[in-house]
Symmetry: C2
């Protein structure tokens, strides 16, 4: 499901985000897990520290015990390579057979399932002592998970690299932890998918949901119906060899590859080559816009099912996963309404509306899937009385819908709350739980909640930007799906997220390094300092507002400032934290004073420097009002700091002038918005409320400031 | 040729670099070419400005006239995509047929050669007026060259993007302009090669010399002798499908792909699977070290030639280029000396030494190449009385050897001066000319000088670092090989190089963006500022000293500080420039004073901050002495600035103490050396010589400082 229902979804998300967020972030994490000194993500089920440290030197070696195979050995070799990369040590690449000589012993009992599956055992334990590290797992996949934990434990000090003494017992909370990548709207080359599979493995995700077809592109080679990819893809599709290559690459990392062929809607690209399958005569052209489009397969003609039987048969033998995702979302049925033959069919069969017609279609489709040995998964919309119990409901609607399905006996996975294309901060995704503490489900029913998937919808991502839209935020979702429910400390999550984000770079991920590159191109210069300052506190607008504010097509360049800017601004989070400390330090106002002043001065300098830069770079013209806003924000903040530092209350007139400027600055421009306006607003209000400080406690005063600085909810 | 003769080569290079460098860099460039406001690289043969400017807006369109084909259309679409990326404009991707409506008209007369060849016509002309740009070329390849020039002309100001009015007539000075990439020592994935082919096309290089086999790896699939790649490559090889893909990709960009199979030496990896071809019994293992190794094919056995006949036959049909490079270098013949059968063979045949034996081998090899329709090219060593005149000499020895071959009627190309793995600055490569003004060759003889190739030998490059070793310096070599001989202004070259370097990033090149990523990994932190300051003025040691100072194997991680540091430090060049300005401003010493002080203070702060950073990151331990040096350099500089600013002469005792510290700092550590010591030395000496300023002119005084600051040549 995508775009449509966006308002509905946005409302759900906004409610979720306003629910007790501050309370939850302050929940304590049990000491047995993730002691502060570790950078483990996702946090294991159980972590106990113990004495000792295991030195990592150039004599590092790995021995395997009991079971070993090519997949395990390749996984160990990849781990050693990353360990060598971080430590700059030349490490022996060959495994040894003498268990007692291994610095790390990997003791594995068997291969696990031949084809990665939702029932795979991913358990492992890892014990590290002075002498040796011992990783024990029933399956190769469990061992691969443990190897990632092993790498995350690496630390360094004056005595060299080491792993701390620790006993870890770990297994996932949910068996289905996925990332959807939509390659329909924008094609992503094989190497982009591979590096994202590496990143998924690093945070223990185990399902790559490959959204292969869309109105805007049909991305997989069909030998049976070659016009699907040859006419529906602008020649940007995966050959079957490439598909097999990706599946093998994913399997090597213990990741399932589940394909999605979204029907009956979202199918314009199918109809370019095969208009006879459509519910209107055609001809059809590859869709270039964003939104919901009318084309839909004709569910009333036998030809459609004959085609699907052959096509699904071909794909079923290409993709070994048990599940095949049929989408099923956002078909509004407008083509059906206008087609007399379809209307006549419905009358004859007693099909009362389009929902029922789609249910009929799904029933026929289900039989085709069953014939080819696949189980069905689809979005909420597929839930219907006749749906067999081995189908899986993929919920964009939320936990309640998921619980409802579970009570009816259906397995389900959650994506509501994990729509990473909406540009919400990691903290918000982190709070979404597929099976929250207040769920009405019995433990038996709750077993139907299999997990969840982050969804990277592809309207506004290119190979250059997609990593920064997926990472690092998806690591927080990965933790939600793997770690115990009570691991909810947002501050600690962000601390670890920043470490993990950087480690993802060693796998080739570009989420961090492409930021500077994109700024250099925009500025047409190596000197991007002011632009970097500006964009570091900007975030792309949330939800689906980008397209409304700044319409583009699928053929537009994704090289603007909104594409360079990253969601979940770390600089804004840091600013919030120091402003909070500063206000809490009333009436002294010394804590972080210098830091805040330096930051504001940097903004003011950037605001001034941006003008000439924009003059030279018309691509930045849309950022000109943002540069003005930046100067205003800095000025308001600096004046407030002057009042507060001097202990001088500002006038209400001054305050109102500043707040008006800040209101202006808070309005999104160029599909970007500042992440710091609220905290400068706090400073301004604090300056104006300084005289109140005499008649109340600092704690009460701070509460007052916070309340006054919070904008009234919009009607 | 590689590694061996390194001392000899280093000497030649050092001589070349000391020859009148300052004189040449000050040569004026004729006004007709590369007027200061343009960023063209390579500089075209003729550029005339004219009135007007052509606006680039979202209505941009391209029409083709006369001849058009898939290659031309794909090239135009790629150009439009980059233009869109830079301007953030949604540009129509489809070409139009109405010539008068085209903002750019590409008028091409024919396809050019079916297989890119050394005789390809690459001429084009480009005229830009207010109304239209017109690109005229006899061949598609000429048009592709012109499209790159078109893109380089893009500028922006407050009125938007535009191209300036200009008339360009252009063709290359040399027909053979290559880049060798050695994938034998370290394998480079297909996407690395592709992005480098894109970069080559951007600077009009036209030969990708694919050095496919080495002692350390056999990188191409052989269906006839599968043990070559399966046993000789650690499974890191190109399938024949991938080879064809690369060849097509290169051809699309007007680039030849010339394979090299280096024999009879450099062949250990061949012998792992086929030890019977060796001159010693074996068994052989893939070589992991750097250097020259003994294994060589046995030139005395018919079996060797039978094998080569079949192998070359297979490769000749895989690679369409006319030329096949047989290497032929660095075979010291030690295995031959020790093999009684070979010695007996030489006696029987009257072959007097190993050089003659290799000539015999080459003669036999030549017949095999001829049989399969290929011309031979090899390093200097292959030059021999019996060599046919259509062979090409690839000279590592230098212009004199090239001239010698030319006088004998052999075509030749130059790589001496273009060894980019030696870490010399771009300016030095820029000065090396295949056919210098003082060449003894007649114009007729000079036609045998076909051009040159930059050589990226692969001992110390990984997919992560290779781009930064090739780019941007190779763009300066590309200019040397394309532009007229008298385009020699080094300062202007560097100005344009910096612009072009940034444009290469849009093609996916990582030479700039991986720097920050590697520092983050080394520091294990996002906060890399002090490390960035340090490494920005460090350069990897030149020539072949890295291996001597910091031995590694082919299996070692290339993730150390020496791998992150970039050759040809721009920060060091800038520091040299401001110190020169400051000294020239004697006795006022105001110019750049603040700038120099700020820089020195930044170094001192970094020197201090590095200690705790290194404590946390043992991988940086080798940089600890460099951090100390940095503090010393900064301190010496700051004290000198204090003397100079105050007009106070420093004592000789102070001077000697500082110079001793600087001498210590000048010693390479961790295979890195500072690029700024010489200029801080200047400041120190200037401070000590301040009293001399009263008795001489500022100009004389500056000369004296420069002389005193230049270290005596080593014995």
């Amino acid at each position: 499901m995508k775009i449509a229902k966006c308002i509905q979804l946005a409302l759900i998300l906004m409610c979720a985000s306003s629910l007790g967020s501050t309370v939850r972030t302050q929940e304590a994490t049990p000491a047995v897990r993730a002691p502060g000194q570790f950078n483990l993500m996702p946090v294991p089920a159980s972590v106990q520290t113990q004495a000792g440290r295991l030195a990592i030197t150039s004599t590092f070696s790995v021995a395997t015990k009991n079971y070993s195979d090519d997949r395990l050995r390749a996984g160990i070799v990849r781990m050693i390579k990353r360990l060598a990369g971080r430590t700059v040590l030349t490490l022996p690449a060959d495994l040894i057979s003498d268990e007692s000589a291994g610095v790390l012993v990997v003791q594995c009992d068997g291969p696990g399932e031949a084809i990665p599956s939702v029932t795979e055992n991913e358990t492992y334990s890892l014990e590290i002592s002075d002498k040796q590290a011992r990783l024990i797992a029933p399956t190769v996949v469990g061992a691969l998970r443990g190897l990632e934990t092993f790498l995350q434990l690496l630390q360094g000090d004056r005595d060299g690299y080491y792993l701390p003494g620790v006993k870890i017992q770990d297994q996932p909370r949910f068996p289905w932890r996925g990332l959807l990548i939509d390659v329909g709207r924008h094609y992503e080359p094989v190497e982009v998918l591979k590096r994202n599979l590496d990143a998924m493995a690093a945070v223990k995700l185990n399902v790559f949901h490959w959204h292969l077809t869309e109105d805007q592109g049909f991305r997989v080679e069909s030998k049976k119906f070659p016009k699907l990819h040859s006419m529906g893809s602008d020649d940007l599709f995966y050959t079957q060899d490439q598909v097999r290559d990706i599946i093998a690459y994913a399997r090597d990392r213990g990741i399932r590859v589940m394909p999605e062929f979204d029907i009956p809607g979202h199918s314009t690209s199918w109809l370019v080559g095969y208009p006879e399958l459509g519910s209107a005569p055609g001809p059809y052209k590859i869709e270039r816009g964003a939104g919901i489009f009318e084309p839909a397969l004709d569910p009333t003609r036998e030809q459609t099912y004959k085609f699907l039987d052959a096509f699904i048969g071909e794909m079923a033998s290409l993709f070994p996963d048990t599940y095949l995702h049929i989408g099923g979302d956002e078909n509004e049925g407008k083509q059906w309404d206008r087609n007399p033959q379809i209307q006549a069919f419905m009358k004859t069969k007693g099909i009362k509306d389009n929902h029922a017609l789609q249910a009929y279609f799904n029933q026929r489709l289900l039989k085709i899937l069953q014939k080819h040995g696949k189980k069905m998964i689809g979005w909420d919309e597929i839930l219907h009385a006749d749906l067999p119990k081995d189908a899986v409901i993929h919920s964009w609607r939320g936990q309640a819908a998921l619980a409802e399905a579970a009570r009816k006996g259906y397995n389900g996975i959650l994506s509501n709350g994990y729509y990473i294309d909406l540009m919400f901060p990691a903290a918000q995704h982190y709070r979404a739980d597929p099976f929250p503490a207040d769920s009405p489900l019995t433990p038996e029913e709750a077993k139907h909640v299999l997990g969840g998937e982050a969804t990277m919808w592809g309207e506004w991502v290119s190979p250059e930007t997609i990593d920064s839209r997926i990472w690092p935020r998806t690591a927080a979702i990965a933790e939600r799906l793997w770690s115990p429910r009570d691991v909810t400390d947002v501050n600690d999550m962000y601390r670890r997220l920043s470490v993990i984000s950087q480690q993802l770079e060693e796998l080739g991920l570009t989420h961090e390094k492409n930021f500077g590159m994109m700024l250099r191109r925009l500025a047409n210069s190596d000197n991007t300092a002011p632009l970097r300052t500006l964009s570091s506190i900007l975030e792309p607008v949330k939800e689906y507002r980008r397209y409304q504010m700044r319409p583009q097509t699928m053929l537009s360049p994704l090289t603007g400032l909104v594409d360079a800017a990253q969601p979940d601004s770390e600089a804004a989070r840091q600013f919030a934290s120091i402003v909070d400390g500063f206000i809490s330090d009333a009436p002294r106002f010394a804590l972080y004073r210098q830091n805040i002043n330096d930051t504001l001065i940097q903004w003011r300098i950037a605001g001034v420097a941006l003008g000439p830069m924009i003059d030279r770079s018309p691509a930045l013209e849309e950022a000109r009002p943002l540069a003005t806003n930046l100067s205003d924000i800095a000025q308001a903040g600096l004046e407030a700091m002057t009042y507060l530092s001097a202990g001088d209350a500002a006038t209400t007139q001054w305050r109102d002038t500043q707040l008006a400027k800040l209101d202006e600055a808070a309005k999104p421009k160029a599909a970007l918005e500042f992440g710091v306006v609220g905290n400068v607003r706090k400073l301004v209000i604090a300056a104006a409320e300084l005289s109140e400080l005499k008649s109340t406690t600092p704690v009460e005063w701070k509460k007052r400031i916070t309340t006054l600085a919070t904008p009234a909810p919009k009607q």
